[in-house]
Structure formats: C-alpha cells, structure tokens
Symmetry: C2
Subunit: 332 residues, 2 copies
DNA sequence: GTGAGGAACTAGCGCGCGCAAGTAACGTTT
DNA sequence: AAACGTTACTTGCGCGCGCTAGTTCCTCAC
C-alpha cells in the first residue's frame, strides 16, 4: 500500500507518513486539542496535507475511540412541520454543527413497528419538544442513552406559557361575546396541547368573570363540526375559540354548509396563523406565534448536557399576536 | 475490571468470558453469520447471556470494523409532510429495519449553513425522492458516498407518470368546459413538480383537441390569485385546474371575495385531496393520489445498492382518482 | 550551574467489533 | 487405512481514531 488509490479512504496515518510526523500530532492539529502545543508551521503543513489528500474523519472510529457519537436526536411529535418549526430546527442544527454535533430529527410513527432511531444510532442525547410519551423515556434509557431532555424525572416545571388561548378569549369578550365555546381537536396526536390550550382558555374566561367554557373535541368533518355547532348554539354560544386553524376551518365550513351566515350568526377564531387561515372565505381570525430563538435554546440545552457547559438562560419568550380577520365580528 | 459495573457497557467479550467461549463465536451467533455452523446449545447460551447482561452492539465499533455505517439517508424536498409521505417513510423504515439498516430523513434547509448530514453521518447510501439539486450530488460524492439514488449520471428515465392533471382536464372537459387554465404555484420549492403537472395538463388538453392552456404561477394571496382570475376570465376561461389544493383554495377564496359565485362563474379543481379540500366552502373538487408501496420500493432500491441484491420490480403504480365536490359544475 | 517549566512533539494502548485463516474431532467415502 | 469433508469452534489482526504518558530540547529564574 505504498500508493494511495482513489478507492481507499485517507487516514490520519497517511498524513503523518507523508509529513514524517506522528499520527498523534495529526490528530491534535485536526481536533485543535486543548492542552497541546503545536507549532504554527506544523499545524499549517498538517491542514494543507489533509486538504490535499482529501482527508475525512472516520466518524465511526472517532465515536468508538471517544465513546461519543456526537449525535443529538430530536424527537418530534407527529405535528405538521410548519415554517416556524423548520426554522427552529435549522437554528438548532447550526448551533450544534458549530460545536461539532449532528442534529437528527425523528418522528416516531404512531403505529410503526420499526426499531426506534435511538436504538439504532446511540445518540449522545435525546431531546423532545414535548414531554416524553409513556414508555418512551424507558425505551430510550434501555437503549443506553442517559441524557434525556426534558428530564423525565424532573418535577413538572413550567410549560410554555401558552398565551394564545388567552388572547382568543379576551378578543371575543372585547367584541362583546359572553357565551364562548372552546373547540378542541379529536386528533390523539395533539391531545396534550389541546388540553393545555383548553385550560388556558378557561383560565382567561375565569379571569374575565365568565363560567367555564363548554368544550368538545371535534374531527375535521362536517358531521362532527356540525354536531358541535348545533349543541353550542342551542346553549346560546355566540363565539368559538378553536384549538387551531384546521379546527376553525372545519367549523366555519360546516357552519356555512348548514346555512349559517358567519360571523353574524357565529364568530370563530383559530390559532397558529397558517396559510389556510387567509385563504378561507371568510378569512379566519387567528393567533400568530413567533418562536424565534427556540432552536438555539434547545441546542444550548443539548450542549449543556453533553459537554458540562452551563445551562442556557431561560428559554425564549413565545410571542403571540392576535390576527383579526373576517370570521369574527362584534356581538349583535 | 473483574466485575461488570452498571456504568460500563457490556461487550461481546463479556459474554464470551462469562460462557467460556471465544468472542468470535459470540459474534457469529449475534449476527447469525452465514457460513458458520454453531450448535443450537451454544447459540442459545449466547443469546440468553446477551439478554441477561443487557448486551447492546456498539454500532461505532461495528461500522469501523465492517466499513459500513448501515445508515440510509433519505433526502426530502422541502414539501409538506402529508399523511401519504409519512406512511411511505414508515414503510421504507420498516423494510430497512428488517435488513438491519437505519433510515434517516433529512430536509436540507434552503438557506441553511449547517454542514449537510451526509457529511456528518457517512451513510452507506443517499436517496432522494426527486432528482438531486444542482451541486448536491457533487457534495454527497465529496463526502465519500458512492451510492446515490437516483443515479445522477443515469439517463433521465421515466418520471412518475403524473396522471392527476390528465384527470383534472378530462373531468373539466366532461363537464363541458372548453376554456381551461392551469394554475401553478410560485413556490420555488416545488417548481419542478409544477412544471411537470403543467405539462401533463397540456398533454391532456392536446389529446382532447384543446389549445395549450393559459397558465400562471400564483402566490397564495388574494392579490396574486385575483389577478390571475381577472386575466383568465377576460380571456373566456370558465374552469381552472390547479397545481394543488392550496392553490385551488387561494383561487376560490379570492374569487369569493371578488364577488364571484362558484362554481357557477368559475369551476376550480385542486390536486392531492388534502384535509383543507373538504373543509373549504365550497368543498373543493380534487385528485387523490395513493402512494402505497412506494416506501417498500425505495427500500428495495437502497438494499440493492448496498447489498448487491437484485433490483426491486418496477416501482408501484401511483393510483390517482377524481374526487368530485362542489367547486366544479357543468358549464352554463 | 542547576532545576523547573514549557514547547513540541512521540509511542503506543485501547475502544469493540468483523471476519479470514486456522484447529481438532468426527464421520463418511474411496 | 487414508483421505476428505463437515462440524464447531478458536486465534488474532485490522479498522481509524482519542488521548495518556512520555521524551527531548530550550529557556528562564534562582
């Protein structure tokens, strides 16, 4: 093997041999290893030769020798991947990239039978944007992962301060509505978030002197949405705060097909300001959510777990804003 | 190290030592290695002891020793992740899992600066559901990956036979429409697919004796959709075949806000049968696409590339079906 | 002059696995 | 009886890296 062929990978030993120095020196240069002093001349020679020979670190060798895969696995719920979430992922990916880690996103299939990625990849840390599902943390631990974020054993801390439903209810009250319903989603994938938003909507109602809001979880069908509308209107409801824009759209569509005139007969406000909200006729009032900075925060959490770095400052503030459109109107 | 502590991983050597056999034998059992004959008694002892000790293969060691990461990277375009695509991914994941591979999905961020995952993971094969973007194949090759699917150097073969637009046009013609426009999407992420569907719609028009369809790519805004509607109606267009349901919804919403009565004044048909299509008022006619089997096909392609398995049979037939709803009506 | 510390490297083991080449015993065939 | 093939294992090298412990030389302070 006196000549490097184009089919065998270049190793640090090849660089060392080529320059007449030790392989360890090559490694210290390539990793900029703290605590080692390498002359500028040698460092330059190594970096130039690595580039000339087309050296690529063998990540399996590195992982084996160091005991770390440098993979951060981000478990995503089976939610729509919207623009905000995509940006968050890229932010996190970039921050971790700078620290030498690979961010991999993974959405476990709800009824899938494939072995979960945390078993196949042996990541250094597994993060989730929502609390781990029942049994999930145990499965991850059984796969040898010791760093889970959020920590399943930590006391249930403050959740993201979902202020959107508060804004929904306040806006409807400001329009004069006093009998308001909360429409959740029957999709089991988002049950926790639905419950959270329902609770926040009720918090706001209480603070504004209203009784607890009547509430149902609906399927995105005319039948389901129509039933809920019938029940609520019979109870005198004049406005609906919907879990998200899809639920709002299902309600508005069903209401129109039932012969209602919206928003005269019924006001409906959605959440999340998806593109659908501005295409629907009438255009849907909604709540927009700005999650800038969340990705960097998550990356900071991951790095603090694997590298004994300090915890990042408190998470970013989610900014919500009301987007009034034609699906809501003052009462009467 | 005479006693295994709970903090050190269990290795094949531990099993071997415990049973008084060689580590190679342990490996042959755990991998069910072809060409090796191991007694049933020994195999059982090894498997039991591995389970008892909590053995987990060290994937970095395996990758280093075998020269293969057993990772298949699936590059996804920045498209919405709909139900069909999710199912395809799970199918592929399951098929690859059974062969001992990990499927990782990766959507490169359009303006991201993070190092691409094919550099960080050194996958055995990189697959894409669309032709590789300019420069992408080169970047993947530079990262040491030699197996790319589709092969960037292969002659441009048959694309998926997009029959949806044909169905759209045929349906509108069957309703009596003779002046039909094609509405594309201005979203650069889907430019190729828009062009393909436009061409297929024109193929159908030609085959039905119609002239080439007037066509614009619209943003999902009232202004953009409204402009297109104005121009087309002025040219006598009575029906629109839209690239997808979002485009159709933007047109319908804008048309309604312009004071049109749909579908009396204008018929619109979408594509992909998303949930939005059945919530909108009027409910949107559309084309449903059934992609069952595509995931398994992709997995078969990957396995044929890395394991010298035979190529899978021809890809699954995408079944499209017309879903007539209230956004389309006979002319006049 | 001596000793300590720093610069600039080196030698080499270990990480945990895959697997080629090998060994010993036994059974079958010539 | 000898040769061959099969069964059921074993020995041990290599994969490519991280990094500890070490060496040699030089400089500076006392």
């Amino acid at each position: 093997m006196s000549q490097t062929t184009s089919t065998r990978r270049v190793t640090a030993a090849d660089i060392a041999r080529s320059l007449g120095i030790s392989r360890a020196t090559v490694g210290f240069v390539l990793n900029d290893t703290p605590g080692q002093t390498i002359s500028e001349a040698t460092r330059t020679r190594v970096l130039d030769e690595a580039k000339r020979l087309g050296y690529r670190t063998n990540i399996a060798a590195r992982a084996l020798a160091s005991g770390r895969s440098r993979i951060v696995l981000l478990v995503l719920p089976d939610w729509p991947l919207d623009f905000n979430l995509r940006r968050n992922i890229e932010e996190a990916s970039l921050a971790l990239d700078e620290a030498g880690y690979a961010l991999i996103t993974y959405t476990p299939h709800p009824t899938g039978h494939s072995r979960p990625l945390w078993e196949k990849l042996q990541p250094d840390v597994v993060m989730s944007m929502t609390p781990f599902a029942p049994g999930q943390a145990e499965s991850i631990r059984a796969a040898g992962v010791t760093r889970l974020i959020p920590d399943p054993e930590a006391p249930v801390g403050e959740e993201y301060p979902e202020e959107g439903p508060v804004l929904q209810v306040q806006y409807l009250v400001d329009l004069g509505h006093r009998s308001i319903a909360f429409a959740g989603s029957a999709d089991p994938r988002v049950a926790d978030l639905v419950a959270l938003r329902r609770r926040r909507a009720n918090d706001a109602a209480l603070a504004l002197g209203l009784p607890p809001l009547p509430s149902s979880d609906i399927q995105l069908t005319d039948a389901s949405a129509g039933d809920a509308i019938d029940r609520w209107r019979e109870a005198g409801v004049t406005a609906i705060a919907a879990y998200n824009d899809d639920v709002a759209a299902a309600l508005v569509g069903a209401g129109l097909r039932m012969g209602l005139t919206l928003p005269r007969d019924l006001s409906v406000i959605g959440h999340d300001d998806t593109p659908l909200a501005s295409m629907f006729e009438p255009r849907l009032s909604t709540i927009s959510v700005n999650t800038v900075g969340l990705g960097r925060y998550l990356a900071g959490l991951a790095l603090s777990a694997v590298e004994n770095r300090p915890l990042p400052p408190a998470g970013p503030e989610l900014r919500v804003a009301l987007v009034p459109r034609a699906s809501t109107a003052p009462l009467g």
